[in-house]
């Protein structure tokens, strides 16, 4: 911490003293570089942090600059009033450009945002209010009492202050709940939805954030150059900006800044050969994506991974500490989960056919059936990933058919995934923190008006997170990336993440898959403790031993239909189950297991 403060202090002093050695041309270059750095931070927030392909950043930049230009020269507003309105205008533009992200992603989003950026340049090139191809000049100098901002040296300090605030704000966002949710959404939108992340709203937020940074850069640009013309906001500049972000490392804001500085200097170095500069940075982009996808910012970690040794501390999975048991009084008002005649039709395939079952509060329900019999599809319909073709889902007395996954998560459903969907680029701790965070998107105003509140809440979350990790015996792995850990530990992290939601209903999709005998035993203990703490559990499982020993009731699916439902003993002896699932030769074994379990 002390070292970090020292580095920060040195950097601040160096930046403060920078103009003293520079010519008037050099300071102009530095001023423009800072503006590009701001743009790059915004782009990094959208693309690197939130995973939203945003090729409209120059348009945000342009909206900011042009709004200031038009309002000051045509409408006679003062510079600062115009600047404020310009930021509002870019935020609105961000909302507009971000709307398609609700429906489309990846390359589709790329072409749409690029198209909208082109639409913007097309508009300013033609409209008379924006001065057409000539643009607008004679934008007034921003007035600041006692400071002459027409001097590019003094303007530098204005930029520096704005840049420092913007970078700090960006870092704050990335490292607190909002940014964590964005990164979770980037890594796995499905799993993010399942832990209550409001994915659609968050995508819009990412675009608004990017646009505000773009708008700020635009305002500064208008104040610095005092002239705007369409070519400053061209697609060529968009790609230059993209190159900065990719080369620097899109997932790190420092990386984005480094990329912006590097490419700006390169451009300056080759100012007489702009096309050769273009060849160089285009080639670097290609080399970076192939050989160093995390960019400059990712290099230290890559080097450490290659040459460094792991930390000396021995890491081990500690035993699970059971939850305090509570007695659940049967409230008597119906089942917690009621699935009524649910059908799900895929193209040419009836995955679920009139499935009805209800789960009492406080029970552990097993769902078994051959591979492909529709078990996971049923989970996906219940948790809102799929929309049922027919039938209804009732959760805690409310009809929730067709509700979005995050709504169901917020209503108290949590789940794990058969193929493990942990957020790969987040640490184990962050995986849990994303799920622990129960704040809704509408509290986002705090970031603007009361960041201290956000910070306090984050601290409280972290404490809660440590307790949860300790309970699941995962404290030693808090800093690790989940992908590098053994399978059994990953499974446990997923359960911990689901439990971080404090759910009423926990859906486990094959939690024992890939676990060894001892791990299966621990799993059974964990699931029992979870149930005893008042959470209702539904689990899909192939491991018949686990199902038979753990569940009070078992539902058997085959070819999308329920073929049996009852106690493990009843189900295991039902002829249709033996036929469909276990096969004749296994029937006696199951009976034997059931008897052994009963005698325990």
């Amino acid at each position: 911490m002390k070292r970090r403060l020292a580095v920060l202090a040195v950097a601040a002093v160096a930046l403060w003293l920078l103009p003293y050695g520079l010519s008037s041309y050099a300071i102009h270059v530095v001023d423009v570089t800072l503006i590009f750095a701001l743009l790059a931070i915004g782009m990094g927030l959208a693309m690197g942090v939130a995973g939203q392909v945003n090729l409209a950043q120059v348009a945000f930049f342009g909206v900011g600059a042009y709004t200031v230009a038009i309002l000051t020269t045509h409408s006679g507003f003062g510079f600062w009033t115009a600047a404020l309105l310009a930021l509002l205008a870019t935020a609105a533009t961000g909302l507009f450009v971000g709307t398609p992200a609700l429906r489309i992603q990846s390359h589709y989003l790329g072409i749409v945002t690029l198209g909208l950026a082109l639409a913007f340049t097309n508009w300013v090139t033609n409209a008379s209010i924006s001065g057409g191809a000539e643009g607008i000049n004679a934008i007034p100098v921003p007035q600041l009492p006692g400071v002459d901002l027409s001097s590019e040296y003094l303007f530098y300090y204005l930029e520096l202050v704005v840049f420092a605030i913007a970078l700090a704000a960006g870092l704050f966002v990335v490292r607190t709940p909002l940014g964590r949710r964005m990164r979770a959404m980037r890594d796995d939108p499905l799993a993010a939805g399942a832990v209550g992340v409001e994915v659609p709203m968050l995508r819009m937020t990412a675009f608004v954030l990017a646009s505000v940074y773009g708008g700020t850069a635009g305002v500064l640009y208008a104040g610095l150059v005092r002239y705007v013309a369409p070519e400053s906001f061209s697609i060529a500049n968009m790609f230059l900006l993209l190159a900065m972000v990719i080369i620097g490392g899109r997932q790190s804001l420092f990386g984005c800044v480094a990329g912006a500085v590097m490419l700006s200097l390169l451009r300056e170095l080759l100012v007489n050969y702009p096309t050769y500069a273009q060849v160089v940075y285009g080639s670097v982009v290609v080399l970076v994506v192939v050989f160093a996808p995390t960019g400059l910012a990712g290099l230290p970690a890559r080097l450490r991974a290659r040459f460094g040794r792991g930390s000396g501390a021995r890491q081990e999975l500690r035993p699970f500490e059971p939850y305090p048991a509570v007695t659940v009084e049967d409230s008597g008002d119906g089942p917690l989960l009621d699935i009524v005649g649910v059908g799900k039709q895929f193209k040419g395939l009836r995955a679920l056919d009139g499935v009805s079952l209800s789960v009492r509060a406080g029970e552990i329900r097993g769902i078994v059936g051959p591979n492909g019999s529709g078990k996971t599809t049923l989970f996906n319909v219940v948790t809102g990933l799929y929309r049922a073709t027919s039938g209804d889902i009732v959760f805690a007395g409310a009809k929730v058919t067709g509700a979005r996954p995050y709504r169901l998560a917020q209503a108290g459903m949590a789940r794990t995934f058969q193929n493990l969907r942990l957020f790969r680029a987040l640490s184990v701790r962050e995986n849990v923190l994303v799920a622990l965070d129960r704040t809704r998107m509408h509290t986002i105003w705090q970031y603007l008006l009361w960041p201290v509140g956000v910070w306090r809440r984050d601290r409280a979350l972290r404490e809660e997170g440590e307790a949860l990790l300790a309970r699941f015996g995962l404290s030693d792995f808090a800093e690790a990336r989940p992908g590098a850990l053994p399978y059994g530990i990953q499974r446990r992290i997923e359960i911990a993440r689901a439990m971080a939601r404090h759910p009423r209903l926990l859906l486990l999709d094959e939690p024992a898959a890939g676990l060894n005998g001892e791990e299966v035993r621990q799993l059974a203990e964990i699931v029992r403790s979870i149930r005893d703490s008042g959470v209702t559990v539904v689990l899909i499982e192939h491991n018949m031993g686990l199902v038979m020993s753990l569940c009070e009731r078992v539902t058997v699916l085959a070819s999308g239909r329920i073929i049996a439902d009852g106690t493990p003993a009843e189900v295991a002896t039902a002829p249709q189950v033996i036929e469909a699932y276990l096969g004749d030769s296994m029937a006696d074994t199951v009976e034997q297991v059931v008897i052994e379990e009963a005698n325990r």
């Binding site: 429906r103 990846s106 639409a119 060529a236 993209l242 990719i246 096309t275 290609v286």
Partner: protein, 289 residues
């Protein structure tokens, strides 16, 4: 009515070029599940090579086109070769990698041919045909015919040949394709080369219609990509219909909104894609997005 029809014809002929560009996008997507953002820049290269050999080397137009197709095919081969480590791994990174190539290609075009554009004379007699009072340029008909022929050949290739079937199989399931003995890398390479060849075809053909300039390909690329998505990404007939639709949309937007045509075109495109993300012929055989 007369004006509407005339606009329609103008839109269709430019749309035919968009359709050719869109086909390149769709072919590469259908056979390797990748969006090649450098496709438009390859169009630029194709246009310059074709016009250079046609105008400076005085080759016949058709022969100049062949040279252009060979050159861009080579460019496509290089792009695929460099980006191969990312194939079947990271979709978005590959996409950015192709943008990087686009930046380089654009700069190379300026270095080789200069920043100013050039006009290319029409290779067929310039007198337009008069049909019921509608003026149709003969060259536009040639372009439409070539686009139609290219579509037919591409469809035949994909549906009737072993190689074509194998290339589609690669995009659908590269592991299963490997198991039946298909060389996935080679298949992708061929896809890219054909895609680049289509870009040269579009670039060479559009030369006499528009002004050949370094920025031409970028604009054509974006419109062509929009056409491909509008038609249903990955579908060859969809690319034709989508490309023509963008051309017609462009023409009418230019007629009614003059300079604002691009603005209108992209707003309409955005609206359509939001209502129907899979496009008109959307089948989504490849789903990696």
């Amino acid at each position: 009515m007369q004006v509407t029809l005339q606009t329609l014809i103008g839109g269709l002929s430019l749309g035919a070029v968009y359709a050719l560009v869109a086909m390149g996008f769709s072919l590469v997507y259908r056979t390797m599940g990748l969006v090649n953002f450098a496709h438009g820049n390859v169009v630029t290269i194709g246009a310059y090579v074709a016009s250079t050999f046609y105008m400076s080397a005085k080759l016949p137009f058709a022969l100049a086109m062949v040279v252009a197709i060979v050159v861009t095919g080579l460019v496509g081969f290089v792009i695929e070769f460099v980006l191969r480590p990312l194939e079947n791994k990271d979709f978005d990174l590959m996409l950015i990698g192709t943008i990087g190539f686009g930046i380089v290609l654009d700069a190379l075009a300026i270095i080789i041919w200069g920043a100013t554009g050039r006009a290319v004379p029409s290779p067929v007699p310039a007198a337009p045909i008069d049909l019921f009072g509608l003026r149709i340029r003969t060259y536009d008909l040639v372009v439409l015919a070539i686009a139609a022929a290219a579509m037919l050949m591409l469809m035949l290739f994909l549906q009737r040949t072993k190689r074509g079937a194998a290339m589609q199989a690669v995009a659908m399931d590269h592991e299963a394709a490997t198991a039946v003995g298909i060389h996935v890398g080679r298949s992708n390479s061929i896809a890219f080369v054909i895609g680049a060849g289509l870009a040269a075809l579009a670039g060479g053909l559009v030369g006499p219609m528009l002004y050949v300039s370094p920025t031409m390909g970028g604009a054509l690329g974006i419109k062509g990509f929009a056409g491909a998505i509008l038609g249903g990404f990955g579908s060859i007939p969809g690319a034709i219909v989508g490309g023509l639709a963008i051309g017609v949309l462009d023409a009418f937007a230019a007629g009614h909104f003059q300079g604002y045509s691009e603005l209108v075109t992209f707003l309409v495109f955005t609206a359509v894609i939001m209502v129907r993300p899979t496009g008109l012929f959307g089948e989504r055989t490849v789903n990696r997005a």
